[in-house]
Symmetry: none
Subunit: 229 residues, 2 copies
DNA sequence: GTTTTCCATGATAAAATTATAAAAAAGGCT
DNA sequence: AGCCTTTTTTATAATTTTATCATGGAAAAC
């Protein structure tokens, strides 16, 4: 298994000097580094490389970082890579817009190599940890592999659509804990999106159809829970 | 001034801008707000302030939110404050680990002030209702698990409907204290709702059916109490 | 000892909540 | 464009929870 340093990092900035400075420092730590001079190139490379992390300059001519981020997240619907913005203090107004576009973090200029690297490590640590959920018990065994978007239930492998997968993953992450609808909505759907009252039910039903009824239990008036035993 | 707004809230985020944005909005509502720039500081302030609520950014350099949460909950064994994570949608892989670390809820970015405040209120309301009750004595042992919405009575686990659960939780929160009908109504049912005279009796009866008669005692003309021993 | 008040109980009605099916809408893919 | 999949909405059924009511009995007041 690749270690934490085996990740691919994509840098997008219109300043060649900054690109060089960053790539030198990051590459030194053992990461695979690729660079793009503008947003378009950044998008293209993202599709080709599927990097673990994208460092994106906010201020760029033509297509700025926020647009680029939006295209990657919303248009291409690529959620795997972590996207962090490079921004100078004066640009902090961009932060709110940035998060809405799907940014994970901000790194403000001037950039200190030490701090940058520790941020990169912390951002990537999450990725490494998140290889899946495994639940084992007497009656049911469930493996959730979020890299392959695949679950294995007592030997059978099932591919679930995104929403169903995320919903199951959430519930199974804490068997026994009751998640109420509000929590489910804000975590699986996000605070931005507004969906109707019965949407969760339908996804629960589809999960039950595919997994069997014994996994997810309804606590009426409260929420849903993944059965412990 | 000791209304529901008298609570202390601790914000932990490495981005000064976000800290300012959040603290401004929360402070405006009358809460006491403190801030920390990193996990270590967050832990330290938690020990000193014992805040009611901690809003913790997931992504932070060096020590991230999940580690911070873990230290507070597992190492220091501090269970009082409610811990909610601030996270962006794209970080959903982190959310799984978060609940295991002892998080109570997630608030996903982008954060809209209105929604944030209503979430804060609902989280604090939970605190007032006690986070979990354990009663141990010679005759009876009772565990009330709010997270799992489940009670355990001398080994047996029982799932109670919402109202019954809340009624039991109230009575058991202060064994020996006699709650009169007015108090019970205003806490379990809320001041707005008006229900008939005999409603409480019926719920008490159902609880006694499920738990046994020895737990809840009637004080005629006054109210009900949870038996101490 | 009788009256009065208050609560317990079971049956029943009402309300709230969720399940289900089917269709529409929104994306994806070739 | 056309076809397939996923997601959301809508409408209705089923279920569970909650509230009400009527009755009888026990305790308290007289």
């Amino acid at each position: 298994m690749e270690n934490s340093k085996g990740h691919t990092i994509l840098l997008v900035d219109d300043e060649p000097d900054i690109l060089e400075f960053l790539s030198y420092n990051i590459r030194k730590e053992g990461y695979k580094v690729f660079t793009a001079n503008n947003g378009e190139e950044g998008v293209k490379l993202t599709q080709q490389l599927s990097p673990s992390l994208i460092l994106l300059d906010v201020m760029m001519p033509k297509m700025d970082g926020i647009e680029t981020c939006q295209i990657i997240r919303k248009d291409l619907n690529i959620t795997q890579p972590i996207i962090a913005f490079l921004t100078s203090r004066a640009e902090d107004y961009a932060q709110i817009a940035g998060f809405e576009a799907g940014a994970d973090d901000y790194i403000s200029k001037p950039i200190r190599p030490r701090l940058l690297l520790s941020k990169i490590e912390s951002l990537l640590r999450r990725l490494d940890k998140s290889h899946g959920v495994v639940i084992d018990s007497d009656i049911n065994s469930l493996k959730i592999d979020r890299e392959k978007f695949l679950i294995e239930i007592s030997g059978k492998q099932i591919i679930l659509p995104k929403k169903e997968f995320e919903l199951l993953e959430l519930l199974a992450s804490r068997p026994g804990k009751v998640f109420n609808r509000e929590q489910i909505l804000s975590i699986v759907w996000g605070n931005e999106t507004i969906v109707g009252e019965r949407t969760i039910d339908v996804h629960i039903r589809k999960l039950r159809e595919k997994l069997g009824d014994e996994y997810i239990r309804t606590i009426k008036g409260v929420g849903y829970t993944f059965n412990e035993k």
